[in-house]
């Protein structure tokens, strides 16, 4: 790593963050960690568990479509679900800045409760710390989750398989754009809501529809492009997606256009991609719901890279997120 200090870019979900994660992975290297899926798969001696952790530092705390509490449950439930596991138990750790109103904490806690109930998980342990004013931004939350992998015979990994078709369960870029509009006071009335949602039941449906799902991933920070690059990078294959097939709501696309944002790099919190055997594409698409789309496929060309067939008809590389996007006028 060339940089001597950690910068915000190291946490944006893009290439730099992957560099730090790789450094840390090497330090702790073990079979479960090295797979680098959203949740670790653990063998207990009698069964398989999935274990995951995530921290939430979103600003503003409350946004259209959700809040930090809802996000903290959905985020970890989804990581567990992406491993094909049934999420069961959550730990909840809160770091609170001195001066936060009780009413805000209460509102967040209620949201955690509602989301856990919806997901069918229980918050079974927790921790609370209060820090001086300025030492954290209002509240930071960490959740960890445990789930059971009941599926026998096939595993959800990190690598793409030859011949797989790539599906997504709905439109992209909603969460990131909802947050941006709320946080930066840009003054757009867009009706865009974060798509923050629990994906465990949707994942379950997909797995019931097909035994040929090789990868499931929820494209959060860094967006769809980054998630696809992670998967391609871990495999011996390339990925090709079609720009015209990627679903995006009209108002989300409009806001991206106005601010100069590329929706392929904007965060999602209620979407996941599924790599399924070609024969099962139709069944999995149906299971994922009416907004699901087939967006691309795994190929033997340009190994470890992701290519985009643009609306103009050209095939060009689709790299991982480099630096956070900023609103621009040029």
């Amino acid at each position: 790593m060339k940089e001597k200090k950690i910068t915000l870019a190291h946490g944006n979900g893009g290439r730099l963050m992957h560099e730090i994660i790789e450094l840390l992975r090497i330090k702790f290297s073990n079979k479960a960690l090295n797979e680098m899926t959203d949740a670790a798969e653990l063998y207990t001696g009698t069964g398989h568990l999935a274990f995951s952790t995530d921290s939430f530092v979103v600003k503003p705390l409350f946004f259209p479509g959700g809040d930090i509490g809802k996000l903290s449950i959905c985020g970890t439930v989804n990581d567990i679900s992406m491993k094909g596991a049934k999420p069961l138990f959550i730990s909840l750790a809160l770091i609170i800045e001195e001066g936060l109103e009780f009413s805000v904490l209460d509102r967040i806690a209620s949201s955690v409760r509602e989301s856990s109930r919806k997901a069918g998980v229980k918050v079974v342990t927790g921790d609370l710390k209060v820090v001086e004013r300025g030492a954290c931004d209002k509240i930071f939350i960490n959740t960890s989750g445990i789930g059971v992998i009941e599926r026998k015979g096939f595993r959800i990994g990190a690598k793409a398989k030859a011949g797989d078709v790539i599906l997504i369960n709905g439109g992209i870029a909603e969460h990131g754009m909802a947050i941006l509009n709320a946080r930066e006071n840009l003054g757009f009335e867009s009706g865009i809501k974060s798509d923050c949602a629990n994906l465990n039941f949707a994942a379950e449906k997909a797995l019931k529809a097909s035994k040929n799902i090789s990868v499931m991933r929820d494209p959060t920070r860094g967006g769809l492009a980054t998630a696809l690059n992670e998967i391609a990078g871990a495999s011996d294959f390339g990925i090709e997606i079609n720009e015209k097939d990627i679903p995006i709501k009209k108002n989300v696309k409009s806001l991206c256009d106005v601010l100069g944002f590329d929706p392929l790099y904007v965060a999602n919190e209620g979407k996941f991609i599924c790599f399924a055997g070609e024969k099962d594409a139709g069944k999995v698409k149906k299971a994922l719901g009416p907004e699901a789309r087939i967006i691309g496929e795994v190929t033997s060309r340009h190994k470890k890279e992701v290519y985009l067939k643009t609306t103009a008809g050209a095939n060009r590389i689709l790299p991982m997120l480099e630096t956070d996007q900023l609103p621009r006028i040029c």
Partner: protein, 338 residues
Amino acid sequence: MKKKKIRLMEVCGTHTMAIARSGIKKLLPREIELISGPGCPVCVTPQSDIDRAVKIAGTKDVIMATFGDMMRVPGTGGSLEGAKRDGADVRIVYSCTDALKIAEDNPLKKVVFMGVGFETTSPTVASTVLEAEKRKVRNFFILSNFKVLFPALEALASSKRIKVDGFICPGHVSVITGSVPYECVAKRYGKPCVITGFDDSDIINGIKRLVDQVRAHSSKVEIEYKRAVAKGGNVKAKKVLEKAFEARSSHWRGIGEIAKSGLKLKKEYERFDAEKEFKVKVPKPAVPKGCVCGAVLQGIKSPKNCVLFGKKCTPQTPVGPCMVSSEGTCAAYYKYGG
């Protein structure tokens, strides 16, 4: 007989990016070569302008408002993003009017707007200055780092170093200016100019019109972007711009000084001029060792000819402006390939 390639230059950063994102270059016949010119106002802003902004941003009781495009551009001593990290109040705005609002909401602070852009943008700032005058806002200032395109276009067209057969002209600058100013370039230097929109088909149609002209040895100004550009342009915008600003000589990073290619506030609006309000000394601009942004900006070199490209100079650690701007030639090349 082997025909030589038709070299077309686009002079608009938005075109650079649109062409790169859509992959159009890969679809074009081999006989057509697209080169990027100095159409990115971020790229051509000299280091001294950025240094001045960074110094002012670090001054007590100052709020620096800027378009997102300028946040990461490095001067000799860091960027506005770096200044923000060090505690300066730097805020990204979508419009100059947002900066004016910040000034009205913070009467005890001095709000400085970092004005960068071509003819599409400068009238919007001129309008805001007139509004500030009307509302008697006393704590609002403009750093006028605007550029005027046509003197630079003439410099490119007349250059012996740059071999260009025609220009893909910026659609949105032309919404303001109209097509008349390009006639000088076309007539005097014999280069066809086609004012082009930004959709995939706009760009391809624009290229086709240029190819047709080059074949016919013609050098006319054509408007491909008919649905938005009129010959006379936007009269009101031009009037508003003329009311608040006048031309001055300006330094284009990588190219040098070009007469009448910059803007400064007229005497009547001097009180809004940040350069007069904050007298800061900035170091003389120095080109970082190995940086060839200047040649890249003029279409003489390609990013791959630069020793720093992809190694010392990356989007995360940009050395020159062509890499840091979201529309810079090197940024496009790094992200999407040649």
